[in-house]
């Protein structure tokens, strides 16, 4: 399969689909967090320098806390994301789909040190590129996943007057029509017609909208848009 979806079965035997995030968005999220931490420390440094030696002790304490616990606090107390992850629409979950707790979050963040080796998260990057679900070493030990926050792809489908299909459609057919409708805006009209011709029974009916236009309207019906 090309899709990097991870199906998780809950105790109620219901399948939830998680969408793990790859190296690039996670690296960007890390960069944003790095800048935030840097600014926070610089600000605190200016403030605490007024307090002399006491301030420098306070600053070192703050540095320690931010260095090791910044991601932990955000992940546990702020629904799984640090500000950087939030900006990129990512969040951390246990690999059974439940929100991450103190133990797992601490594990994955303390083990950043191992991922960082030998320099600049090289080991973590290699681990993410090799792993089917893009986990770095810390994620493997903690049993956590970084996933995309759920978004509804239906919004990508261009609006058209919905029409119902003449016969009930199977899941595969529904998926195919929706995937086509999502991609349609990026295709030339000729290519759209070519693709629509692959589904002769669906793309052609008794009444006028034929071909690609008909498929778009069917898609609008499938995602539940009202006429």
């Amino acid at each position: 399969m090309l899709d990097t979806l991870r199906p998780v079965t809950t105790p109620e035997l219901i399948e939830i689909r998680l969408h793990p995030a790859g190296l690039l968005p996670r690296a960007l999220a890390w960069l944003i967090d790095l800048m935030l931490r840097f600014m926070l420390l610089a600000l605190a440094g200016n403030l605490f320098s007024l307090l002399g030696e006491f301030g420098s002790g306070l600053w070192l304490l703050l540095f320690f806390l931010i260095e090791w616990f910044y991601p932990v606090l955000f992940e546990v107390l702020w629904r799984g994301s640090t500000p950087g992850k939030c900006a990129l629409g990512l969040l951390v979950l246990n690999d059974n789909g439940t929100p991450v707790g103190w133990g797992a979050s601490l594990t994955r963040n303390l083990l950043r040190t191992a991922d960082f080796l030998p320099f600049g998260y090289a080991l973590g990057a290699v681990s993410m590129l090799l792993h089917r679900e893009f986990r770095r070493l810390g994620d493997i030990v903690a049993g956590t996943l970084v996933v995309y926050r759920h978004t509804t792809p239906a919004t990508l489908i261009p609006t058209a007057t919905p029409i119902p299909p003449t016969a009930p459609l199977g899941r595969e057919a529904q998926r195919a029509i929706l995937a086509f409708a999502e991609r349609a805006p990026r295709l030339t009209p000729e290519r759209q017609e070519e693709l629509a011709a692959l589904l002769p029974t669906l793309a052609h009916g008794a009444q006028p909208p034929q071909g690609a236009a008909r498929l778009l309207r069917l898609a609008n019906h499938l995602i539940g848009r009202q006429a």
Partner: protein, 321 residues
């Protein structure tokens, strides 16, 4: 059943569920919290039916969303965090350490073995010190313990310096310990290196200071915090070694399963040792630099250093190991 009928039948329930998830503090919830599990299970069943009967993807998507939010709500139970913390500190930690006693012993050997060897080596030939540190560093250590050997009472440094040293000790020591633990992920190589190197370093410093006639200064400074600090480092080493062993010899589990189970069993201990190092930093910053008569420092310091030992031997016996 047609989709429209199905939706009409359950719409009020779904709406109530969505409202309950979105409820604000103070507002009247659509149903009491004890109904959540039953309603969640109903929703799961409806989602399964929706998928099975090939209803529209939009409906599947909507119910899937509701189920996922309900799932997160139901399974995010971290409610008794403080109680768990109290129980862990009250004996769970000690039981954990006893359960890993083989690894603790191995880590202690890797730290104290090189330390004793180095002390012996430096005692026989002081030149051996330069295997580990440069001559300038040795001179630095000696100077650090030489200043003001006669004055009693408070140190030359003021309270602000004490606090700044506290910050430094925490940052430095806890970071070393965390790295020692994380080093286990490289098969324990970094953990072993870190333990052996620190052992050698302690050995050199201790012996050179004794040779320089500063033994009394040195021991009066370190005896108070050494129990917590060395104990913390040994435990970090033990955790790192255990993690490394899970990677190298996972046994009858897959490597990632072995790592995950081991990681889960170790994280409590790692938090515990971090607290030990914070206590060590408190003692090191505020008690150790006090200049009191040597017997007083030795007595109180010795008692402080025995505390973790007593805790690990006696605490948490009732829960069993």
């Amino acid at each position: 059943m047609k989709q429209a009928q199905f939706e009409a039948l359950h719409e009020t329930g779904w709406q109530a569920f969505a409202d309950w998830l979105k409820k604000r503090r103070g507002a009247q919830p659509p149903f009491p919290p004890e109904e959540l599990p039953a309603r969640y299970r109903n929703l799961c069943q409806q989602l399964a039916l929706t998928r099975e009967r090939d209803y529209s993807l939009a409906l599947v998507e909507r119910l899937h969303d509701l189920v996922q939010q309900g799932h997160d709500h139901l399974y995010s139970g971290d409610g008794d965090f403080w109680r768990r913390l109290r129980r862990y500190a009250g004996g769970g930690f000690a039981a954990d350490v006893r359960a890993h006693r083989v690894w603790v012993l191995a880590a202690a050997l890797l730290l104290f073995g090189p330390m004793l060897l180095m002390m012996l080596a430096v005692h026989l030939n002081p030149e051996f010190a330069y295997l580990v540190v440069s001559p300038e560093q040795v001179r630095g250590f000696v100077e650090m313990y030489r200043d003001g050997t006669t004055a009693l009472g408070r140190t030359a440094r003021d309270a602000g310096t004490d606090f700044s040293m506290f910050g430094f000790y925490i940052f430095n020591n806890v970071s070393i310990a965390f790295r020692c633990f994380a080093g286990g992920l490289l098969g324990g190589v970094l953990t072993v290196f870190s333990l052996v190197f620190n052992g050698l370093l302690f050995g050199v410093v201790e012996m050179r200071l004794v040779q320089a006639g500063l033994g009394e200064n040195f021991y009066s400074f370190v005896v108070g915090h050494s129990g917590f600090e060395l104990g913390g480092i040994v435990l970090a080493g033990a955790a790192g070694l255990r993690l490394g062993a899970a990677l190298l010899a996972p046994g009858r589990r897959s490597r990632s399963d072995a790592l995950r189970e081991t990681g889960r069993s170790l994280i409590g201990m790692v938090c515990g040792l971090a607290v030990m190092l914070v206590i060590a930093a408190l003692i090191e910053a505020f008690w150790s630099p006090l200049r009191l008569p040597f017997p007083v420092k030795l007595g109180v310091g010795g008692a402080l250093s025995l505390l973790p030992m007593l805790y690990f031997v006696f605490a948490g016996r009732r829960h069993g190991t």
